[in-house]
């Protein structure tokens, strides 16, 4: 690693002409917390950055203009961003000039001057583009979209195959670019939730393919720094290298008569150096329940000691199947493809019928764990055959319910235990069962921080915020309140919360009461669906407050929605449209534009799942 301190005097010189005092202070503050390794990486990054901007400013100056690789990412939770950053890193390492951009920051009109474009795109639950990609998506499909005969491109699509519109955003981009006359340099790859190895393979292949074409100039601009790109800028721990944190507290926060078991969880990040901001998520690697694994093994008449082989972290690994099922493979969430496979293997008429209907299949897969399916349709496979059809475990992301300004090295989560009865047995969610029931206080849990720049408090502490977070969607707003309290933020705060019953399910009730009492929380409206004959939800409370909600929006309030994506977020969205149309005297289309403008300007942010 080079001596990094030599960079600083240079920058200081530069600053005399280029940076004002604030900028310099902010730069110094930013890099002040960097480790030497991080500084080294950052120096290379900045060097490459400065080259790119000079290129952009002076397009005609050199031939390099035609050899820039533009990488766009369309990210919701940060996965696509992470992949794109790694891709940029290896492309730069191969000597390619890279222009890496969040699609939201990319001028769609520049498309026609691009020669090489890679897109890493994730998809929202129901097939729509993440917020950041909406405008680009719309542009591509509009009449304004230019013909792109000179463009070479490839798309990496991220998604979740348990949803009907799997990888839809990536597919849309791919098909549309093709229709506009662009040429695929490499076929689109659709990645499922365990995207790591597929994404890596695609990246490697793309860099290999483009290397020759894009490295005409002999002197590579960027220094070769072979460091893993960390998702969290301030710690060496990340998804692939999680931190074994101490599990401090698991406290049930629903009452004893509640139909739900929701836990307030506290985890100690200790000396990990992991930091997070309100809005971020915590990734949790969990272990499956040994009891469930034993049940599976028994059903298949496996002893558990059978050795199975699989690839993990780029290498072949061999483990006893019992161990592999506990810590490597997903057995509590079922991929539709597994049901399909099992239908064929078992010849079960019921499953075969299901497999015909994609929607029914998806629903069935969502409601049945591996063990349920094996019980329903017994069949015999070898241990290796079973392993070969299973997906690798992926960490679960939980919206963080605390602010470090309040809790220092701790991180708090709000976890709803997924639990249902199937054939007289209680089935628990993999991660929620692990966190809420199996993990004991004092044990270690593997975690990492997943940053989410798409769910951030307003930059100005004076900006009002409206928070809509029923159920465990309350989590990030607890973090918001802690943060705003610590910052002594003067902006108004309005919370909408909902759940089943007032007496049993009012998550963090006492804290909300105290925030109201102290005046930090300006208003709070709650909806409890089962406390009266007619169901009342948060959107009904929003509607009741239509006039004031609109007034808040008009004075610049930021809107946040967290929680269930399938119903709540949609109902809330539609209610917001109604409110805006009605209160603003706008047509439906105008109201949609109004909301869209909010989304694009990051004043309407969602963290839904």
């Amino acid at each position: 690693m080079g001596e990094v301190s030599v960079m600083l005097p240079k920058q200081r010189n530069l600053s005399q002409t280029m940076l004002d005092a604030d900028q310099l202070a902010s730069l110094q503050q930013t890099i002040g917390s960097y480790s030497p390794l991080q500084l080294a990486w950052a120096s290379g990054y900045l060097a490459a950055k400065s080259e790119q901007s000079s290129v952009a400013v002076l397009p005609a100056a050199q031939a390099a203009v035609s050899s820039t690789l533009t990488i766009l990412y369309v990210s919701q939770t940060g996965n696509a961003k992470g992949v794109a950053q790694q891709l940029a890193q290896s492309a730069e390492a191969a000597g390619i000039t890279v222009n890496l951009k969040n699609v939201a920051d990319y001028k769609a009109k520049s498309l026609k001057s691009e020669t090489h474009l890679l897109i890493v795109a994730s998809t929202n639950g129901e097939g729509e583009a993440p917020d950041d990609g909406l405008e680009f998506h719309e542009f591509l499909f509009s009449k304004k979209a230019p013909k792109l005969p000179n463009l070479k491109y490839s798309v990496l699509a991220l998604g979740d195959s348990s949803y009907e519109f799997f990888c839809q955003t990536g597919k849309d981009f791919d098909e549309r670019l093709k229709a506009l006359g662009a040429t695929q340099v490499s076929a689109r790859v659709d990645c499922d939730v365990d995207y790591d190895s597929d994404a890596k393979a695609w990246s490697t292949q793309i860099v290999e393919t483009l290397k020759e074409e894009l490295t005409s100039s002999a002197d590579a601009l960027a220094p070769v720094v072979n460091l893993p790109v960390s998702n969290s800028a301030d710690s060496s721990y990340n998804k692939q290298n999680p931190y074994a944190a101490e599990f401090l507290v698991s406290q049930k926060i629903t009452g004893r008569e509640s139909a739900k078991d929701v836990r307030h969880i506290e985890i100690d990040l200790g000396e990990s150096g992991l930091t997070y901001q309100p809005g971020d998520a915590l990734g949790v690697w969990f272990e499956n329940d040994q009891v469930l694994v034993d049940e599976l093994l028994q059903l298949l008449a496996f002893s558990g000691d059978e050795q199975v082989t699989f690839s993990k972290d780029d290498s072949e690994q061999t483990l006893a199947i019992s161990e592999a099922l506990v810590s490597v493979f997903e057995i509590t969430q079922t991929a539709p493809s597994f049901v399909d496979f099992w239908a064929k293997t078992s010849g079960s008429a019921e499953l075969l019928t299901l497999a015909e209907d994609k929607n029914a299949l998806r629903e069935f897969a969502a409601n049945h764990q591996l063990v349920d399916i094996l019980k329903l349709a017994p069949a015999q496979v070898t241990p290796q055959e079973l392993i070969d059809t299973l997906r690798k475990m992926t960490p679960r992301l939980y919206s963080i319910a605390s602010s470090q300004a309040e809790v220092d090295e701790e991180v708090h989560l709000t976890v709803g235990l997924v639990s249902y009865e199937r054939d007289g047995k209680t089935r628990l969610g993999g991660a929620s069962g692990y966190l809420a029931q199996r993990l004991e206080e004092g044990a270690k849990v593997k975690v990492f921080v997943e940053h989410n720049d798409n769910f951030r408090l307003p930059e100005s502490d004076d900006t009002p915020v409206i928070m809509i977070g029923p159920g465990t969607g309350v989590a990030p707003f607890r973090a918001f309140m802690q943060e705003r309290e610590a910052r002594d933020a003067g902006g108004d705060n309005w919370m909408f919360f909902g759940d089943q019953t007032f007496t049993q399910d009012f998550l963090y009730q006492v804290e909300w009461q105290n925030y109201l009492k102290s005046g930090l929380l300006t208003k709070m409206n709650v909806a409890f669906s089962r406390d009266q004959a007619e169901k009342i939800y948060v959107q009904d409370r929003l509607k009741e407050q239509a006039k004031e909600v609109f007034a808040w929006l008009e004075r610049g309030a930021h809107l946040y929605v967290c929680g269930d994506a399938n119903r709540m977020a949609k109902d809330v969205h539609n209610t917001l449209l109604e409110i805006i149309a009605e209160q603003g005297g706008l047509s439906t289309e105008q109201a949609e534009d109004y909301l869209k403008t909010l989304r694009v300007s990051k004043r309407y942010q969602k963290d839904v799942y």
């Binding site: 926060i253 009452g255 307030h264 007032f502 049993q504 009730q509 006492v510 709070m524 709650v526």
Partner: protein, 574 residues
């Protein structure tokens, strides 16, 4: 009634208690209760309203069994209200009963109806969203809960005497009249709970009897028909002792200033018997009632709530002065008390026949709790009876229930239902039937120790001791209360246990069967084992050394286990 000048020398000087401020600022008991009802963030009432709802017959409570658990769950206490209905004399019709049965089943957390020592019923565990519905439901059936708690005259008791039906009817009518006469006149209750019309601005409401600050402290009134003292006159501020001539009511002896509440460790507080002011004819009843109330209103201690009840006013300004005030205000002179005698306090469990040839079945309801227990669906049993019963129900001050006015031909059917639902249990001992406990844990916020939930076990032990010492046919008036505030009337028991802390009780001995003597502290802070060891000794000694038919309470005084309390202020803490 003549107007009266207030004698400033008789008024306690000093900074008024905070309750005086909140009553005065309450806009005649309205406060901001309506706003609180709309507050979605809490199941409780805030600030002053927490106190003000008492004047509307409700206490805010919470399930104390799970208070700590909910604190960990970051949930507020499970706030709910207890409602005490206003039922002068405790008479309720089958139709009304079925309505309260339904409400308690569907809208209360405990699904029970509680018959209380105030001769009425209570709902426990009503959540805020159901409170208005509760009042409106009651109102539909002619029931309210105005002034059954708070610093006002509360539900008026009347001896449950179904046998002498005419005399009882007359006495009962007086109980109702007194209750109505002393009620707050504010329209706040109807306005808040029944969506009644708001009193128009400018129109001045007045409280001619209670005053705009209401009374200094709670005030309890009874009408009692000797020789029964089921209402425990000495627990009450104002008592009208029915005097009959030839079976017709002619007037009342008036007993003023009874009360049992005290505070642990505060010797300025004590239980005290009522003073006999003398006899007044019927036509002066309401004026005398109002005069006693207004005298207490004007001279009761508004500085220190622990010394605010009528009994302390009597001792501070003097019985004669108090009585003279009442005579002056009512415009009557008390004549000498007419002779009467109390012979007992318990209810006669089982069937009796009245002089009108109607039959009356008194059901023993342990601690007044009507609930459907797995093996004893008591509450359903009463509801089943209500469906066919042509008479009425009478709740007693001993927390029992009388099925009153049953025709000869309906007796068998009613008894059959009662037996089928466990409402008649021939195995109950007289000891059990003469024992009492207040509600206490888990709902009462004042409770320091278990009472109602503990009573059945404790009586079992007492029964065992009686058997051990071959006293099975005897019984002792035995009462357990969770705190020293008086609800379970332990300060008129032969053996009274007063909660001091979890599992710990102060033991008082020496009350009598008729309820005319205050017991005295025997030992402090005993746990169950110590209590039973002491009782084993005492009951054994009573069995061996008692005079013929000598009651336990009389015995312990005669042999000097405790000294007799004759004048409370002098003897009780001595």
């Amino acid at each position: 009634m003549s107007t009266t000048e207030i004698n400033p020398d008789l008024v306690v000087d000093g900074k008024l208690a905070d309750n005086e401020r909140l009553k005065g600022q309450s806009d005649l008991l309205r406060g901001t209760i309506t706003q609180d009802l709309g507050d979605q963030m809490t199941g409780g009432f805030t600030a002053d309203n927490f106190q003000l709802i008492r004047f509307h017959g409700m206490y805010q409570q919470d399930d104390r069994d799970i208070r700590a658990e909910r604190q960990k769950q970051k949930l507020e206490p499970l706030h709910n209200v207890m409602l005490r209905a206003r039922m002068p004399g405790g008479i309720i019709t089958p139709k009304q009963w079925l309505a309260i049965d339904k409400f308690s089943q569907e809208k209360t957390s405990y699904g029970s109806i509680r018959i209380t020592t105030r001769q009425t019923f209570q709902f426990h565990g009503v959540l805020k969203p159901n409170i208005k519905l509760m009042h409106q439901t009651l109102n539909d059936y002619g029931i309210d809960s105005i002034a059954t708690a708070g610093d006002v005259n509360r539900n008026v008791l009347c001896t449950s005497n179904p046998v002498e039906s005419e005399l009882h009817q007359e006495a009962y009518e007086w109980a109702k009249k007194i209750s109505e006469h002393l009620l707050p006149k504010t329209k706040a209750y109807a306005e808040i709970w029944l969506d009644g019309e708001k009193v128009q601005g400018g129109k001045v409401e007045e409280e001619p009897i209670l005053g705009s600050n209401y009374l200094p402290r709670k005030f309890k009134t009874t009408v009692v028909i000797p020789p029964q003292n089921d209402v425990d006159v000495h627990a009450n501020d104002l008592n009208f002792v029915a005097i009959a001539e030839n079976g017709k009511l002619v007037g009342f002896n008036v007993l003023v200033g009874g009360g049992l509440a005290m505070t642990h460790g505060d010797k300025s507080t004590y239980p005290r018997k009522a003073e006999d002011f003398g006899f007044v004819p019927l036509e002066n009843t309401l004026d005398v009632a109002a005069a006693v109330v207004t005298t207490q209103r004007d001279y009761g201690n508004r500085v220190n709530r622990k010394n605010a009840k009528t009994k302390y006013t009597l001792d501070r300004i003097g019985v004669d002065v108090f009585k003279a005030e009442v005579e002056q205000r009512a415009g009557v002179k008390f004549s000498d008390s007419r002779p009467y005698e109390f012979t007992g306090r318990g209810d006669r469990i089982g069937w009796v026949e009245g002089i009108d040839n109607k039959h009356h079945l008194t059901l023993f309801i342990q601690s007044g709790r009507l609930l459907d227990y797995p093996d004893k669906p008591l509450k359903s049993g009463v509801a089943e009876i209500a469906k066919i019963h042509k008479g009425d129900f009478r709740m007693t001050a001993n927390q029992n229930l009388i099925i009153a006015g049953v025709a000869e031909q309906d007796k068998a059917k009613i008894e059959e239902i009662a037996r089928a639902h466990g409402l008649i249990d021939d195995n109950n001992t007289v000891q059990r039937e003469n024992s009492m406990a207040c509600v206490s844990l888990p709902t009462c916020p004042l409770a320091m120790a278990e009472a109602e939930r503990y009573l059945p076990t404790m009586i079992g032990h007492v029964e065992g001791l009686l058997a051990k010492h071959e006293l099975t046919d005897e019984h002792i008036i035995f009462r357990i209360v969770g705190c020293p505030n008086g609800c379970g009337r332990a300060m008129l028991a032969e053996i009274g246990l007063v909660g001091k802390g979890p599992g710990k009780y102060n033991v008082y001995l020496g009350g009598n069967k008729n309820g005319t003597r205050i017991p005295k502290l025997f030992k402090e802070n005993l746990d169950e084992q110590a209590i039973l060891a002491e009782l084993d000794q005492l009951i054994g000694r009573w069995g061996r050394e008692r005079n013929e038919n000598e009651d336990f309470g009389d015995f312990v005084i005669r042999v000097g286990v405790v000294a007799e309390v004759i004048v409370s202020v002098r003897d009780f803490h001595d």
